[in-house]
Amino acid sequence: MPAFLLEIGLEEIPARMIAAAQKELAERVEKMLARENLLRAHAVQSYSTPRRLAVLVEGVLAHQPDTQEELVGPSLKVAYKDGAPTPAAIAFAKKAGVEVSALRTITNAKGEYIGATVERKGRPAVEVLAEMLPREMAGLYWAKSMYWRAGKPERFVRPLRWLLALLDAEVVPVEFAGLKADDVSYGHRVLHGDAPVVIAKPSEYVAKLEKAKVVVDVEARRQRIRKALDAATRAVPGARWRENEELVDAVTHLTEWPTALLGNFEKEHLTLPEEILETVMRDHQKQFVVEDANGKLLPHFLAVLNTEVGAAGAAIIRHGNERVLRARFNDARFFWDVDQKISLTDRVEMLRNVTFHKDLGSYYDKTEKNLKTADYISKKLSGYHSDDWENIRLAVELAKTDLTTEMVKEFTELQGVVGGLYTNAQGIPKDVSDAIYEQYMPLGATNRIPSTKIGAILALSDKMTTITEMFKKNIIPTGSKDPFALRRAGAGVVRILAENTHVHGNLHLVDVVHATNQMDEADKTLRFHVLDFMLDRLEFYLQESCEIRLQVARAVRNSGAATYDDDSAGKLVGYGYVAGFAKALNEQVGSADVLAVAELLKRAANIQRQAKEKGIQFSGEEAAALLVDPAEKELAQRVTEVDASIQKNYREGKYSEVIAAIAGLQQPLNAFFESVMVMVDDEKTRNNRLALLARTVAVVRWAADFSELASI
């Protein structure tokens, strides 16, 4: 069966967009072929380089099969008057392309209609492809696209330069963006030049381009790069290149014919902090860092080239790369020296001139707010006379001062890190400089969180203050819009609360939410809004970072322990326990015991809900004197015991015992539902029973909303 090949040739596509576009193009072509009835047993391959996107489909039909279609026309009554066809029938026959005599009667559920069987002739695949491909190409998603032709007829990521479309040996005459497809591709710009590469049939595409110095297969290119890096590193005994998948990915999408080159820099630059050296090499020069067996930096780097050169060329390219790197390192050293002339302590005032946000003032203002937040958190954590308050205060005050340094202006991704390094060099206590260094952590869901206590307090204060202040100005993430990465900040807060060993036993989400918004009654709505946003982050954290099932994450998100409402004042637990309990519950959630008690608790919750819907009012706690039936007395007593057990064991991290205690309600609940009628006529008894059920549900709900778990 024929194979189909499409190659879109264009000016360099941004590396970050290539992988998704390659995938989307393959999917679009495959779907289109299927829709057009042109696919049989098939295999789809896709390729890309900075200058091309390609898809190769094997098992394409050369011709669409003929089909028969049943068309339904007007009703029989309308179609014939006195046995003669009406204008409606004639029009239908014309539209269907059949003689009136060929019309048939069709009987369906709605009645009798006239119908026609239409033969649809399949069209040649080449014709269909030429017609359908422009739409698929135009439909590709680009994060940022552009116009380039006069009259602006189409947008694409960069200008298209050629089109290649083949069905076996036949050119598919597709036209798009002012280009007409041919059987010609182009090789590596420098190594192969302008000479066209004629592709006689799809199967020779990969090999022909390889000859023209283009590796079109992305995985093959990636492996080539890894091997080249390994080989180049071997020149330095005992060295290895520092693994960095993101960077490997980036250079894979920046090259058509990759090779690797080892370069050197002067040993004296190793006196610069490793963070700065690595940022320059990795982020600015897209070079790989070389380290020894202990992970210590060596004075070498690896550059991935998009060419292949001999010894003379290698010397020139190495020299050029070394020159740039040396200038960058000298810059960094220069910035370091210049920056030391004004200590960070003396830079606090300069923050008045650094904008945090146009509606929220400067970083000086932000620092003042951070300080209030940190003060509150510190008191929650260590009481009013915390030994390290002075250090916390200093850390917060100096935290943003590195934004005024030349180093951070040049290497913005090093904010915080530079502050940490400078304060350390300027004789500020290590607890403070470590905290400043860690303030922006975690940068992503898998990145490190602050490890120190002050670092955690600083990071929490900074992030929570940002979130609250933005919410105050109604800058709230919606859908895909989150320009200030508030979701990431929120997720960071939850992770620190759950995982930092200095705070995870003592600090609750509500503590940090209140810290930015200190119990001002007027701000109550805002506080709930922020808390709700943060609880969404908790749910996300539990699912994504802890790999907890959706229902469990929801059950915990809605629990009293995680949310704290005014009813359960005084029962705040460290957020580490909330995460710990969620993990334990996730492991046991499928068990028969948990399912059974969840089902019963759901029933209890339903009865209450229905009663409330009828307008019945009852309290959240039953009166012992009004309990009549032995089963309800038993339940009441057991619930009290379970409550105590939950509260004690949860706070001691004995989660299995919490779950066992809850599961233990299965028997008394069963007995209750078997022998006790809740909705009795006597109002007092009825309301007391509803109250008992309310307490039962609430006691369990403090740990987790079990009604979510009945449906697992």
Partner: protein, 332 residues
């Protein structure tokens, strides 16, 4: 205080001797683009932060008329000054700006040929086009493109203009901006911009360096920009230029909306644009002086942008009727 740079790798002296001087580099690129249909213009004589701000780019990209031009543009960025002490940074650097409207389909190939013309044999180098989009909030302009990396060094900004002065462009313009100091330092293999050979006497072989020509300027303008510029007066200048620019724009509006072709052609849009450029430069000076507070900053940018957008509109309006000039300078 000049930076000490340790050179441990052997430099290729053969390359160095034959490398173009700074002025030869400029001649060669100008000659190259002149031979490909570009008008050669002189640097604009009002302070600008980039070649883009010259009317040869900012105004010529507007409207339907094809236009191709190349010019060197000394570009002043007061905040980037380093008193001549940093080997890689300048208050005033030189851009070679090439404007191709509309961009020919072989624009990348033309550009690569220009590198060959200045002595870069691409078979012995590593060249990459890496995504780099350009945006200027003060000019209401943006485009997409690349930074061109040669052996790890960014030597050129390559942009397809999409919008200018808040106006969507049609046709699109291709803009190629060479950083001449960087390229010269690369070609001559020197670690400091100040060591670039600006010219070499053909008879005596005596070389004049970039430092000899420009170091004093870097030092003195850094002193002025960072220390001496009178903030109060800068604000006054800004207010005056802005007021005049605005007043002229307001006065021009009825004429530009009218039918009188002679009156329309006499509207001094080009002069009004100079006033807008003055404001932009004064903003940069005030910024370098640390005189613009957080709350003021956004406001001042908006003020300059309003002028730029106003000029772009006026220019477009004027072109719509006056635009009878022959199509000039199309690149073949």
């Amino acid at each position: 205080m000049r930076m000490k740079t340790a050179v441990t790798t052997a430099t290729s002296n053969a390359v160095l001797k034959s490398a173009l001087t700074f002025q030869e580099l400029l001649f060669t690129l100008q000659g190259f683009w002149s031979a490909r249909g570009c008008i050669l213009q002189q640097p604009y004589d009002v302070e600008v932060g980039a070649g883009t701000m010259s009317p040869e780019t900012f105004l010529r990209v507007l409207g339907p008329k094809p236009y191709s031009v190349a010019y060197a543009q000394p570009s002043r960025r007061p905040a980037d000054g380093r008193y001549g002490e940093n080997p890689n940074r300048l208050f005033k650097h030189t851009q070679l700006q090439v404007i191709l409207k509309p961009p020919p389909s072989n624009i990348q190939e033309l550009y690569l040929e220009s590198l060959a013309a200045i002595g870069i044999d691409l078979r012995q180098h590593d060249i990459k086009f890496e995504e780099d989009n350009w945006e200027s909030p003060t000019l209401g302009a943006w485009g997409v493109g690349w930074q061109v990396m040669l052996d790890g060094l960014e030597i050129t900004q390559f942009t397809y203009f999409q919008q200018c002065g808040g106006i969507d462009l049609d046709p699109i313009t291709g803009e190629i901006t060479y950083g001449l100091e960087r390229i010269a330092a690369f070609l001559q293999d020197v670690d400091s911009i100040y060591d670039i050979v600006w010219m070499r006497d053909a008879k005596t072989g005596r070389a004049v360096t970039y430092g000899e020509v420009r170091l004093a300027e870097e030092l003195q303008f850094s002193v002025y920009n960072f220390e001496k510029a009178d903030v109060e007066k800068l604000w006054q200048h800004l207010d005056l230029y802005e007021a005049e620019c605005k007043a002229l724009l307001d006065a021009a509006r009825p004429t530009l909306e009218g039918e009188d072709a002679v009156a329309r052609s006499r509207v001094p849009v080009l002069a009004i644009f100079d006033l807008c450029l003055k404001c932009s430069h004064l903003f940069n000076l005030l910024d370098a002086r640390g005189a613009i507070s957080v709350t003021e900053r956004v406001g001042v940018i908006a003020r300059v942008r309003a002028l730029a957008v106003g000029v772009a509109k006026a220019y477009t309006a004027q072109q719509t009727v006056v635009g009878s000039a022959a199509v000039i300078g199309a690149v073949s």
